[in-house]
């Protein structure tokens, strides 16, 4: 369970991100018309992620080759690719909402996996589930700390100060 959620799915997602440069420019321009502010792509990625967070989806992907194939296709194409495509187009607020929910999801799932008295996936043991819960809490905490540090002391090149009122010298 830990390997599938924290290793396999993220690697598949990375594969989708790496696909962006090979998408023809014309196709990207057409898709961009349907992706104002990156919202459509991020919503698509979120819905696909929600599906692959369901325990029965994870279960089925380990026992049914067709579902496994669906996972190998949809995680890169419906999560990684739209994420990479839409992220640069998303504004600060859309990114903020996405990241807040992303961090909150790590905390919620981590907490859920730790306290659930039953196995949520039939193919994995309770120990694995609780270990995954611990890892997710740590990852959520790490992400939050990184975000806090970035916001407190980081550089934000995309938010140009020149176009704003009263910029300090």
């Amino acid at each position: 369970m830990t390997a599938q959620m924290l290793v396999q799915i993220p690697l598949l997602l990375m594969a989708g991100i790496l696909l962006v440069p090979v998408i023809p420019t014309r196709l990207r321009a057409r898709a961009a018309r349907w992706d104002q502010g990156g919202v459509s792509g991020l919503v698509l990625a979120t819905l696909a992620m929600a599906f692959w967070m369901l325990p029965r989806s994870l279960d089925a992907s380990t026992t049914d080759p067709l579902v496994a194939l669906a996972k190998f296709l949809t995680v890169p194409l419906l999560i990684g690719l739209p994420l990479a495509f839409s992220w640069p187009r998303a504004g600060f607020i859309v990114r903020g909402v996405f990241l807040t929910e992303f961090v909150a999801t790590f905390f919620r799932l981590g907490w859920l996996y730790r306290v659930s008295p039953i196995r949520l996936c039939n193919n994995y043991g309770l120990g694995d589930q609780q270990r995954l819960g611990n890892y997710m809490l740590w990852i959520g905490g790490g992400l939050l700390a990184w975000l806090a540090l970035k916001l407190l002391a980081g550089n934000f090149k995309s938010l140009s100060p020149s176009s704003s009122p009263g910029a300090p010298g």
Binding site: G91, L151, F156, P161, S164
Partner: protein
Amino acid sequence: MSILYPQNEMLESRERMVLNLYLVTSLVLFLVMMVLGLLMRLAQGAWMDMSPTLFYQVMTAHGAGMVGTAALASSAVMWFFLRKYVPLKTSIFLANYVLFMIGAVLLLVAIFIGKFAGAWTFLYPLPVQSLGVWSVGSAVLFMVGFLIIGVGFLLFYLDAMRGVIRVYGNLGRGLGLQWLFSGTVDPDHPKTVVASTMVIIVNSLGILGGAVVIVMSLINAYDPEIALNALFAKNLIYFFGHVFINITIYMAVIGVYELLPRYTGRRWGMSRPFLWAWAASTLMVMIVYPHHLLMDFAMPRWMAVTGQVISYTSGLPVFTVTAYGALTNIHRSRMRWRIPAMLLILSMFGWAAGIVPAIIDATISVNHVMHNTLWVPGHFHFYLLLGVLPMQFAFMYHLIGRDTDRSVSRSDRLGFWMYLSGGLAFVFMFLAGGHASVPRRWATHFPGWQVYDQVASLSAALVIVALSLFTVRICLGLMHTPSSAEPAPAGD
């Protein structure tokens, strides 16, 4: 240029419309919630019949409504002044309002139709263990309402965060952290930006904590087998809840920094102690919440001790620099004693006096006997009724004023003194009740306790009359008087 109504505070018609929505809604909600509060005190004083079930519904609506409305009105103060220094989107400000209203409707439906009466703190597992008084669906609706309101405020803070980062580079620079130890403090660095940055940081984290515990409570509501650790859930709820209500004063105090110097005619400069105070409070406001859990014997001892120590110091830095700054600003200043100035001074008194009962209650040995008494409502009503709300009313009165105003009208003066005397009598009845060990959150009171409730009812009625005067005056003013968008010909 007008001193009271500077040009850079002009509102476009759309901005004014959205701001007016915030202000009118806040005033009406405050009035409705105060009437609910009065009904509770009347019922406790045996001057009115109210079933305990209805009492707890009213208590839940009063708590949730007052916390939400205080935050709504304070966010209007923050938005109005912060937009002078950083770019803010009116559409996001409007989105916060719309989401707030949707959430408020869900809360009211959950309470008055679904009969949810688990208090605004929705402490696990009470929402799902109602002994048949309300359904799980009602509890879910209530929590979803909170979730939606939280999303609205998160959008508002993200927009403010974007604005601060765009102008100052990052939140640390907005907070002035670069000047804590060395360097020359920029005397023109706006206090509004410092306060807003603190609010953005603290309340975004608070909302994140709330979003986690609410969704986990929702999972538990539909799958009771997933039992949560009640103490951990309570920690998260109070982290979110305490931060959310505490931050209303830190948003509203921006009005003091912006308006008081205009009425005194004196500059209120930036200083290193001011920056230190806000930096310290940024941290302390987040870790002070354990003072709500001092009676939970299972809490780690170090957390309880931290709760006590930080409670003594949490509000102190910002309060000290604000109160000291305000007093030196006023001293021999030829203050223009108009109604906004009077309300600002009242708010400083309410803030100062309102934190004293809290500090007393945060002492562990005192807390064990006082925390479940009316002493605690005495504290937060003092702090909110005579601290936060007067800051918000001062801002509203300022908006409808003109440079040419020379005196305070008789009705405003009457309203002010009624509000002050009624408010003081009302909160002292809570504190006296607490001193006499009257428990809080009890629908029915013994005859010996009812004198406090009866005096409080009369006082609350006085406050409601005063607020009605304020509401009529401010609403008419917002409709008929050119606000800061069209400054009247300068009279100074």
